[in-house]
């Protein structure tokens, strides 16, 4: 097996045993990038080969395990475009807190990955620099918005990656690319240095080849940060409990996310997963979350509202792309008109509208109420169940261009992931089957700060199934 197909924890073991050198590991990933990147287009920018190699520290295995960073996370000295023309020339002048944490551990950054512009989308097709392809089928999307990060991990162009998740942007691409993605509890990973889309929903999280890697990376990036007021004063997650079996764990299957609109092929995989859980001694039952159907409309009021304000700063005055204008106002207006893509504009307009005088109560305030109702649905469910499960995506990875003409249909493909962000709780997506060589993801949801439990349940499932070992065809020699 090629080193580029291995997980972080197995590479660390090999390096520690001196079976492989740091350089061998790094080279295998660089070779993989060279071989596959032109077809996948996971990256928007790659660090120079020499820089990557000179970042190797012989006493530190992490320095050999190339990590890919979504291009809306600031890495000092590297471009941070958010896949937008408006930031096409923006070099980050400071490090995000998660990058500081990675640097302290000696991580080696491969490059910055593609995304839907400002993380707005579910297919990475909204990138101003062209779409990323799904490593399992080059005619299909990798999911989004962290499509570049998920594809790079799946393709072996990085060992692991960071993404961001506002309504499913880590979990859905992880599902589409057959890898593991965690949306942590809101407030456990610092958002400082993450270009904000919707501040009350955004969360950075790890994308990895298996659950062990995911827990490892999460233990490194989580923890209190005084630069982020919404970050919680908790001890960082400790890498524990993984191996504990899941006998007696109570699992609830969300009825509303297994009904109409979910592909039968996807449903079958989830039902298989339920059988697996039961065979492992877990207790599985159905649960209803009555308000979950309102998640998508609630989300598409709150997220654009916050985005319309968060993205106001991109005006050409201080940094980024600037268009010409006779006056300051005209310059700002032209800059935004030319600098933003259509989906970003659509959401800014939506958000501006719902916050306008006379509409605020009817839309924004009402959506806040629904957000609370959805959160309390989860709370009641967690009185009965340790974790809940659902498909990560109701559909299989779709074809490029298939949903671009119909934004509403695209929005609905996030039905399973959006409620989790609204409730501020954690969820992980793990591979749970393949249909026509296309991966299907299982979402495991827990109450706040239940990441240990999520990893434990996910690990139990992973050990009992072969899906996490599948790798896409490297092809094209």
């Amino acid at each position: 097996m090629d080193l580029a197909d291995l997980t972080a924890h197995s590479l660390i073991e090999l390096i520690k045993k001196r079976d492989v050198s740091h350089l061998e590991v790094v080279n295998s990933f660089l070779e993989r990038i060279e071989r596959c990147e032109s077809r996948i287009k996971a990256y928007l920018s790659l660090r120079d080969r020499e820089d990557i190699i000179s970042s190797i520290r012989e006493d530190n295995p992490y320095s050999a395990l190339l990590i890919a960073i979504k291009d809306n996370i600031l890495v000092k000295g590297l471009r941070a475009t958010c896949a937008s023309k408006i930031l096409s020339n923006f070099i980050a002048p400071y490090n995000a807190t998660v990058i500081e944490k990675l640097n302290q551990r000696g991580f080696n950054i491969a490059g910055k990955t593609n995304l839907d512009e400002f993380a707005m989308g579910s297919s990475t097709e909204n990138s101003s620099f062209g779409p990323t392809k799904n490593p399992w089928d080059l005619e299909r999307v990798p999911g989004g918005s962290s499509g570049g990060s998920a594809a790079s991990v799946a393709m072996g162009e990085s060992v692991w990656a960071l993404g961001s998740d506002t309504g499913g942007s880590i979990r859905q691409p992880a599902s589409f690319c057959g890898v593991v993605g965690l949306k942590p509890t809101y407030g456990t990973v610092s958002r400082y240095g993450l270009v904000a889309f919707a501040s009350s929903l955004d969360q950075i999280g790890p994308i990895t080849k298996d659950v062990t890697d995911n827990a490892l990376l999460y233990s490194i990036i989580s923890g209190y940060d005084p630069h982020d007021s919404t970050s919680l004063k908790l001890e960082p997650y400790r890498f524990t409990e993984l191996q504990q079996d899941i006998r007696g764990v109570k699992i609830g299957v969300i009825r509303e996310l297994m009904g109409e609109g979910v592909d039968n092929a996807v449903k079958n995989c989830i039902n298989e997963a339920i059988n697996t859980f039961e065979s492992l001694g877990a207790i599985v039952d159905e649960v209803s979350l009555p308000h979950i159907d309102y998640s998508v409309p609630t989300y598409y009021i709150l997220a654009p509202a916050e985005a319309s304000s968060n993205l106001a700063r991109f005006d050409g005055v201080r940094y980024g792309f600037r268009a010409f204008g006779q006056t300051a106002e005209e310059m700002m207006s032209n800059t935004r008109g030319e600098g933003f893509g259509p989906e970003v504009k659509r959401r800014i307009m939506l958000g501006t509208y719902v916050l306008s005088a006379g509409y605020y109560e009817a839309f924004y305030l009402k959506a806040l109420k629904f957000r609370n109702l959805i959160a309390s649905d989860f709370n009641s469910a967690f009185k009965e169940f340790d974790v809940l499960i659902s498909p990560t995506s109701p559909v299989l990875p779709f074809k490029l261009g298939e949903k671009t003409e119909n934004p509403l249909e695209m929005y609905l493909s996030d039905i399973c992931t959006i409620p989790i962000n609204l409730a501020g709780i954690p969820a992980i997506s793990i591979p749970c089957g393949f249909v026509n060589n296309l991966p299907v993801g299982l979402q495991i949801i827990g109450p706040t700060f239940s990441e240990s439990m999520l990893f434990r349940v996910a690990y139990g499932f992973e050990q009992a199934t072969p899906f996490h070992k599948n790798r896409p065809n490297v092809g094209g020699r």
């Binding site: 400082y192 904000a196 005084p226 916050e306 304000s309 700063r313 201080r318 501006t352």
Partner: protein
């Protein structure tokens, strides 16, 4: 037809915290442009605000001084609008749940004491500053932005439209400024922009219940401007109404150069700020113990000092002057502790010392004069060791060099001549030398007496006790 005026005033005060309200950049003025900045106050992508608790302390302190109720769960909102000096294109401010509400300030007015209600006291961030290449926004080829001011904590204090005259407006503003200065939360310099003011003005016929249509007045940047702008605007509105017209609801700009207000934007063009709760900050909880801690830190304010000084026997005019001047009041109180004659201390402070300070364009703290020195000088006068005249002559040296007056008079041999024999000797000499004048006096020319006193003083270089000279001279002249 008689009209009634309603004025509400909105004050923005820059707080004197050591760092900005949402980042740790220093609050300082006069540094080179854009040197006191960081990702947060530059509004860089990914940067997040962290609330400076000291700024909240200052806001609570001010709200308490203005008799406000304190909201235990104040909320920060985003106020969204586009302007090149606003780096995020939204300002973190407060909307429906500010830190302080329902306060008041009592001011002196023509009809006695008047209560001006204060609607709200809230905390927000200041913007950057635009600099235009030709000095004015409309005729400049280029504009520059300095973000050193961006993120400086601003306190907004909004009154109800309870103010009826320009005098009351000035009184209200002065009182607020002095309170801010006494609290140590703002230096209150309107001309330098650390305290800014906007006003809304409406006029209605006497006896009408509903308030008239108001206009909002911006760009009033000095106490003088406030007075003139309000006078102009009141007059303008009355003229409109009495000629049968209607006042248009709009924002007007005070044009200092041409001494008039001009329309800036109408009601239709008013901004929709799309306020919503700032999701990057967590809810703030101001509990009872926080409020009580600050209440215990409240210093004595001008009004309380005024009453206290009057009780010490000062005339109310003097008491007010002293009570509203943080430096002089502090100096006064310190001096009175050592030299217990409040009236005399106040007279010197408000008289000769104030004059000397004005000549030097200095505050008393910027001079070498200390309460100890002043008390020593006043004791010397009271004990009759020096005359007031001599004290006045010494004052510049005391102010500039801070020398002990006792030492000074010893060194220069300036102590008053109070022994009768020495004075009498000189008087006799003066009488001998001025026989003509003495003759004139005896014929009834009163002025000649003053001349003779002057001669005595001249010969003693002012050291003779004037009272003694008068007494003895009269006796000698028979």
């Amino acid at each position: 037809m008689d009209y009634e005026v309603n004025i509400g005033i909105e004050i923005h005060a820059e707080l004197l915290t050591s760092s900005k309200v949402f980042c740790s950049c220093p609050v300082r003025f006069g540094d080179p442009p854009n040197t006191l900045t960081c990702p947060v106050c530059l509004g860089l992508p990914g940067a997040l605000p962290v609330l400076n608790k000291k700024a909240v302390d200052f806001a609570i302190l001010t709200a308490l001084a203005l008799n406000c109720q304190i909201n235990e769960h104040p909320i920060f909102h985003r106020k969204n609008y586009y302007y090149p000096d606003l780096p995020k294109n939204y300002q973190i401010s407060q909307y429906d749940t500010p830190i302080g509400i329902n306060g008041y300030l009592d001011i002196e007015s023509e009809d006695g004491e008047k209560r001006i209600r204060i609607r709200r006291v809230h905390l927000e961030e200041d913007t950057g500053k635009l600099l235009h290449s030709s000095g004015h926004i409309t005729h400049s080829e280029m504009s520059f932005v300095d973000f050193n001011r961006s993120g400086v904590p601003l306190l907004e204090i909004v009154s109800e439209p309870d103010i009826s005259t320009t005098e009351e407006a000035k009184e209200y503003l002065t009182n607020i400024r002095d309170i801010l200065i006494f609290l140590g939360v703002c230096d209150g310099k309107m001309e330098e922009g650390s305290m800014r003011c906007e006003a809304n003005i409406s006029v209605r016929k006497k006896g009408v219940q509903r308030l008239g249509t108001k206009t909002e007045l911006k760009n009033i940047n000095s106490f003088r401007a406030v007075e003139r702008a309000l006078l102009y605007e009141i007059d303008r509105q009355i003229k409109v109404l009495s000629s049968g017209g209607e006042v248009v609801q709009e924002t007007r700009h005070w044009d200092e150069k041409n001494d008039r207000t001009v329309s800036m934007r109408g009601k239709e063009e008013a901004h929709d700020y799309r306020y919503f709760p700032e999701p990057d900050l967590v809810p703030l909880e101001i509990d009872k113990s926080w409020i009580e801690r600050l209440r215990s830190l409240l210093p004595e304010l001008p009004d309380q000092k005024y009453e206290k000084y009057k009780a010490l026997g000062l005339p109310s005019y003097d008491a007010k002057l002293l009570a509203h001047d943080i430096e002089l009041s502090r100096f006064f109180e310190e001096t009175v502790k050592i030299f217990d004659n409040p009236k005399m201390v106040s007279n010197w402070l408000l008289g000769d010392i104030t004059k000397e300070l004005k000549d030097r364009n200095k505050f008393i703290s910027q001079t070498s004069l200390s309460p100890d020195i002043l008390a020593e000088m006043l004791s010397l006068i009271e004990e009759g060791k020096i005359s007031g005249r001599i004290a006045k002559d010494l004052l510049p040296e005391l102010i500039d060099k801070g020398i002990s007056p006792k030492r000074l008079i010893e060194e220069r041999n300036l102590s008053q001549i109070t022994d009768t024999e020495s004075v009498l000797e000189i008087i006799r000499q003066v009488i001998r030398d001025n026989t003509n004048v003495v003759e004139e006096y005896k014929r009834g020319k009163e002025k000649s007496f003053i001349f003779l006193v002057g001669q005595v003083m001249k010969l003693t270089k002012g050291r003779a006790n004037p009272k003694l000279v008068n007494e003895l001279l009269k006796k000698e002249l028979g």
